[in-house]
Symmetry: C2
Amino acid sequence: MEFYSIIKERRQLLGLTQQDLADYSGLSLRIIKSIETGKGNPSVATLTKIAGVLGLELIMKVKEMIK
Amino acid sequence: MEFYSIIKERRQLLGLTQQDLADYSGLSLRIIKSIETGKGNPSVATLTKIAGVLGLELIMKVKEMIK
DNA sequence: CAGAAAAGTGCACTTTATTTCGCTTTCGCT
DNA sequence: AGCGAAAGCGAAATAAAGTGCACTTTTCTG
């Protein structure tokens, strides 16, 4: 699952509009839109702001190998 | 645990130098250094290149609440 | 169906990440 | 002690993220 779809789904689950997410995260509406449509390449700082609002966390872990 | 320390530890575990990681990921040595010292704010694409080399993955998940 | 709200797009602009150079410092090793 | 490899830092140029505005399209909803 891609970032943008996780963000979009989570936002909708919480009943927030893109404008709400922009306001609460302090990011521009424009960047929220581009990220959710998969056209953006957000920075870690940007993604972290979004994640904070949505109750998500960004983590890096050792990749599971398919057996 | 922060990104940069995970990257650094994983790189060292694999016996790679920063130069190796730069070469394999196609990123500049300079940016590898800044990320590992926590001074960078890389994009998802940049982090994904690094993760790919190190056998790591970047994921976004619902945050666990402390009970 | 009609109107409004939400989502998506294009452009010009500002800010910041990334690159590339070179130099200094630190560390492990014989 | 001294060598070389690796890490850290500075500056200038370039690539790319992020912003704000105006607009179109889609999706609610009444």
